[in-house]
């Protein structure tokens, strides 16, 4: 009872303060001091972080791993990752109050599929990028096949470091009929062509990104983006429409961030084959070919 009364008094006090300020817009921010104020974010930041992560789900088996008094959260489009390119986001919360921590890094993500007789890794980004200035880090992984995988990583949260391997995660098959990863061989090495963000494609002009990852000599090590320079010509067609194609597509070229970017024009929804013609820095064909090459991604928008 007395508590509630105290609240009323406080409210009255605020009302007086605000009316006294007479139209001044500056809000009165009262930070509640905590023992580690410097690692937590402001309410505004927390609001922005939840806006950024809205629409994403925590990845089962990967998210909510504990490290000291912190919890590491991992987000993706769905609770299970799928074959092909997946965006993933890392965030660290203080376990006791759920507030986000600013000072952390994640490194050495090492996806691994253990098939008994053999083990292999898969294409993955070679770095994590901070999302704007918020304590969220983005990366991507592109599992080659469905099944049980592990995705261990290293962390540093303030002065605390360690490795977490989590429980095995279940990678789902890609939707029926699509093919978001293709491979080619060059000088006895295997390269993977990973189509970025396949869920974001829509009718119209799409700026698309892709990655060319090279299979590691030790197949259990992550397949990082190749250091070679390529160009990928694209030729989209609709197999259900007599290979109807679209004009004004632009080849994918290497960007500073290691991705390949170009323009993909999709004139309607449905199934599209994006035929690829991979050329090296000198313009020599290294995989696929002109127009209806047999090297192609298949998407379904």
């Amino acid at each position: 009872m007395s508590n509630r009364f105290g609240t009323y008094i406080l409210a009255l006090f605020y009302a007086l303060v605000f009316s006294a300020c007479g139209g001044q817009d500056d809000p009165v921010i009262i930070n509640i001091p905590t023992e580690d104020d410097e690692v937590c974010c402001t309410q505004d930041d927390e609001q922005k972080i939840s806006e950024i992560l809205a629409g994403y789900k925590e990845v089962t088996g990967l998210s909510r791993q504990s490290a000291g008094s912190y919890t590491i959260k991992v987000y993706a489009r769905n609770a299970n990752l799928h074959v092909g390119y997946n965006d993933i986001y890392f965030a660290v919360e203080k376990t006791e109050n759920g507030r986000h921590v600013k000072d952390f890094t994640i490194s050495s993500l090492s996806p691994l599929m253990d098939m008994g007789s053999m083990k292999h890794s898969t294409p993955i980004a070679n770095q994590l990028d901070q999302v704007e200035s918020f304590p969220i880090y983005h990366t991507w992984v592109a599992p080659l096949m469905a099944g049980e995988w592990t995705l261990p990583f290293n962390y540093r949260i303030k002065d605390l470091t360690g490795t977490l391997s989590g429980s095995p995660i279940n990678i789902e098959a890609a939707p029926d009929g699509v093919a978001w990863i293709k491979s080619f061989k060059l000088n006895s090495a295997t390269y993977y062509l990973v189509l970025g963000s396949p869920h974001n494609l829509k009718t119209g002009v799409n700026t698309i990104s892709a990655y060319i990852s090279k299979k590691s000599d030790d197949a259990t090590q992550p397949y990082l983006p190749a250091t070679d320079v390529f160009t990928i010509d694209i030729y989209p067609t609709m197999p259900d429409m007599g290979n109807h194609t679209s004009p004004n597509n632009e080849p994918l070229t290497l960007q500073k961030d290691g991705s390949y970017q170009g323009k993909l024009n999709l004139s309607m929804t449905g199934v599209w084959d994006i035929h690829l013609n991979v050329k090296d820095a000198e313009g020599n064909n290294v995989a696929g070919g002109e127009e209806l090459s047999d090297l192609y991604w298949t998407i379904n928008i």
Binding site: G177, K202, T203, G204, V205, M238, D240, M241, G242, N243, H244, T245, S246, P247, N248, N265, L266, S267, M268, T269, G270, V271, N300
Partner: protein
């Protein structure tokens, strides 16, 4: 009595020599023997058959229903069609539903055609001409009550037509309303072959109301509901499940005003059309698809009419907003549906001011001047459709504004058996939604997919026309010609870079402005009347169309002849005649047109009006294509054959 004439008569004084070279009318809800053109099938004739009576009109047939009127060898894009001044736009991307298909003969009193750029006040974009369908309103102080019933039957295709309507009228109030039903099975061509998918069924209901709370203050309302179902289009790859139109209007009119204007009419209107294509009944459909379309138009106009001294003038302000939406979903066997917008929900706002002045300089000399200016603003309302067009036109604007206008002048002279009329005009039209924003619209005429071009310029045209008539006692000879010189003529041209969407299509065409094009139409008519009950009418027409690359334009009528021998005796009218056309060897081969062979087709009919007690009866009996000739005209889409021999009989009763 004066108010009766005014209320009934929307007949303006210019229905005289003024527009000798330019105006043509067909009376729809008329009984036999009323001077103006009336079709022998009488009240049960279809709108398309009525339109075919107009001398500058040809009909493009894609089936046995919903023919597309072509005026001066120009189709829908270059022709304005209004219903009592109301704008209405078709909802099918494949032109399966010209707006004239959403009314029925029983709705109309007459169809008025203004040839060329001298359009009716509400018309915009009328280079070829403007058609106004005048609704049939019984008016105040007419017969207190009148009942009509009509029925018709045609042997070829078992066509059945039934209609009833009623009219009530007093000094303060009138109403007329009715329903009409039409049903046709597949028809047979001249060789007896059944033309599959040529059936249709249509129901139309209408009501008109008039209220005059105070003399000369008139409130009028109209509602038309029209629904056609199971319509076959033998010339096309698809049929239509349903085509539905609702047309409404409310107007307020002042009559007998003093001063500069004697009449002021303001009307607000709304119409809504939905159109659903259907390929489920066709064999060998590679990919089943749904293609619905929707057109909505709301608008108003305000028309002032007046006369003073030698002048009869009209001032009209009009505005309308129309949206056109059409999409297509294709269902490949076992595959994921494919979706696109074929008309990306385009909103068009158009507002304009029109002026006309008819001047009688002397009893022999007349001048007519008309002008209209309009501002049009268009916007693509659907984002997905806009994004898709961006592939083909990177960086295109989502909105488009433009000014369009027209101006025309004509001079007529009439004295002792000689009539002379000359006229000229200059005007422009904005590209249609199909021409600007259409998306992969397959045209079965040339097998191309068409994509609109948002960067099109207005199409401009300069018109010259003239007519000379000599009337002797028994002979009347009339020679008539008009010529249209286009700049930035809009037509689809192949773009070999682009890949068609339709399986089996020849390629993709993009609408372009051609530098120039010309269309010339000439007619020679000779009417001979040896005795008052007998007349022999002859009409010979020749047209020519060519564009700047020297290619012939498509769908230009070949040399054709129409001959009719008419016999009138008391209440009986009989007619026998022939329609002939030469092979159209100079057809638009560049545009996918192939020649049609020449033909001669004969017809006979007899009709009469009788009194059966208090009931007036009109009876008609006739035969079309008397010798069961197998033929198709140049305007039969993909050369679908015309009807073979067809015997019809119909009757209408009036009480």
């Amino acid at each position: 009595m004066i108010s009766l004439i005014v209320s009934l008569g929307l007949f303006f004084p210019q229905d005289t020599v003024f527009k000798e070279a330019a105006i043509d009318e067909v009376v729809v809800s008329a009984t036999v023997g009323t001077g103006k053109k009336a079709i022998s099938k009488g009240r049960v004739a279809s709108i398309d058959e009525h339109l075919g009576q107009l001398s500058k009109v040809e009909m493009v047939r894609r089936g046995n229903y919903a023919w597309e009127p072509v005026v001066n060898n120009m189709a829908t894009e270059r022709v304005s069609t209004t219903i009592d001044g109301m704008k209405i736009f078709y909802a099918c991307t494949d032109k399966m539903d010209p707006v004239t298909s959403y009314v029925e003969s029983s709705n109309l009193q007459r169809i008025s055609l203004n040839s060329g750029l001298d359009g009716n006040p509400q018309a915009t974009g009328n280079i070829g001409g403007s058609i106004d369908l005048k609704l049939c309103r019984v008016g105040f102080d007419a017969k207190a009550s009148e009942y009509n019933a009509s029925a018709g039957f045609e042997s070829n295709g078992s066509v059945q037509v039934y209609g009833v309507d009623a009219a009530f009228s007093s000094h303060r109030f009138y109403t007329n309303f009715g329903v009409f039903y039409r049903h046709a099975d597949n028809y047979k061509a001249g060789d007896g072959d059944e033309i599959n998918f040529s059936q249709f069924q249509k129901t139309n209901a209408f009501a008109n109301l008039g209220w005059q709370p105070v003399d000369n203050h008139i409130v009028e309302a109209t509602v038309i509901y029209d629904i056609a179902t199971d319509i076959g289009y033998p010339a096309l790859a698809m049929d239509v499940k349903k085509a539905e139109g609702i047309i409404t209007s409310l107007s307020y009119r002042r009559e007998q005003l003093k001063g500069f204007f004697y009449r002021w009419e303001s009307k607000a209107y709304y119409n809504h059309i939905t159109h659903n294509m259907d390929d489920t009944k066709r064999p060998d459909v590679i990919i089943h698809m749904d293609m619905p379309g929707e057109s909505q138009t709301a608008g108003l106009y305000s028309l002032l009419q007046g006369n003073k001294d030698k002048h009869y003038y009209q001032v009209n302000y009009d505005a309308y907003y129309n949206t056109l939406f059409a999409d297509m979903t294709m269902y490949p066997d076992g595959g994921k549906p494919m979706y696109m917008l074929t008309w990306p929900d385009v909103g068009t706002f158009n507002t304009g001011l029109a002026l006309t002045d008819d001047i009688s300089l002397t009893p022999y000399h007349h001048i007519r001047l008309s002008a209209k200016g309009a501002w049009q603003h268009q916007r693509i309302n659907n984002d997905e459709g806009y994004q898709a067009l961006n592939i083909y036109f990177p960086g295109m604007d989502r909105v488009n504004s433009r000014f369009i206008g027209r101006i025309a002048a004509s001079y007529a002279y009439e004295r002792s058996g000689l009539k002379l009329a000359i006229g000229t005009g200059y005007g422009m039209r904005a590209p249609t939604v199909t021409e600007s924003y259409g998306y992969f619209l397959n045209n079965t005429f040339d097998q191309y997919d068409y994509i609109g071009n948002p960067h099109l310029k207005n199409e401009k045209a300069f018109e010259l026309n003239g007519a000379i008539t000599w009337s002797l006692q028994q002979l009347q000879v009339k020679a008539e010609a008009n010529a249209f010189f286009f700049q930035d003529y809009i037509i689809g041209r192949p773009d070999s870079r682009l890949s068609p969407m339709t399986i089996g299509a020849a390629g993709v065409k993009i609408y372009q402005n051609l530098r120039h094009a010309e269309i010339v139409n000439t007619t020679l008519s000779v009417d001979y009347k040896p005795i008052s009950s007998l007349s022999f009418e002859n009409r010979l027409t020749y047209s020519y169309g060519r564009e700047s690359t020297h290619a012939r334009l498509p769908l230009i009528a070949p040399l054709s002849y129409l001959g009719n021998l008419r016999f009138n005796y008391k209440n009986i009218q009989a007619e026998g005649g022939v329609r002939m056309a030469a092979r159209n060897s100079h057809c638009g081969t560049e545009y996918g047109e192939t020649p049609t062979t020449g033909y001669a087709v004969w017809h006979l009919n007899v009709g009469g009006r009788f009194m059966l007690g208090h009931v007036a009866a009109n009876l008609h009996l006739g035969v079309e294509n008397l010798f069961d000739r197998y033929y198709s005209t140049y305007s039969d889409w993909n050369h679908i054959p015309q009807k073979g021999r067809n015997i019809y009989v119909n009757a209408s009763f009036q009480l």
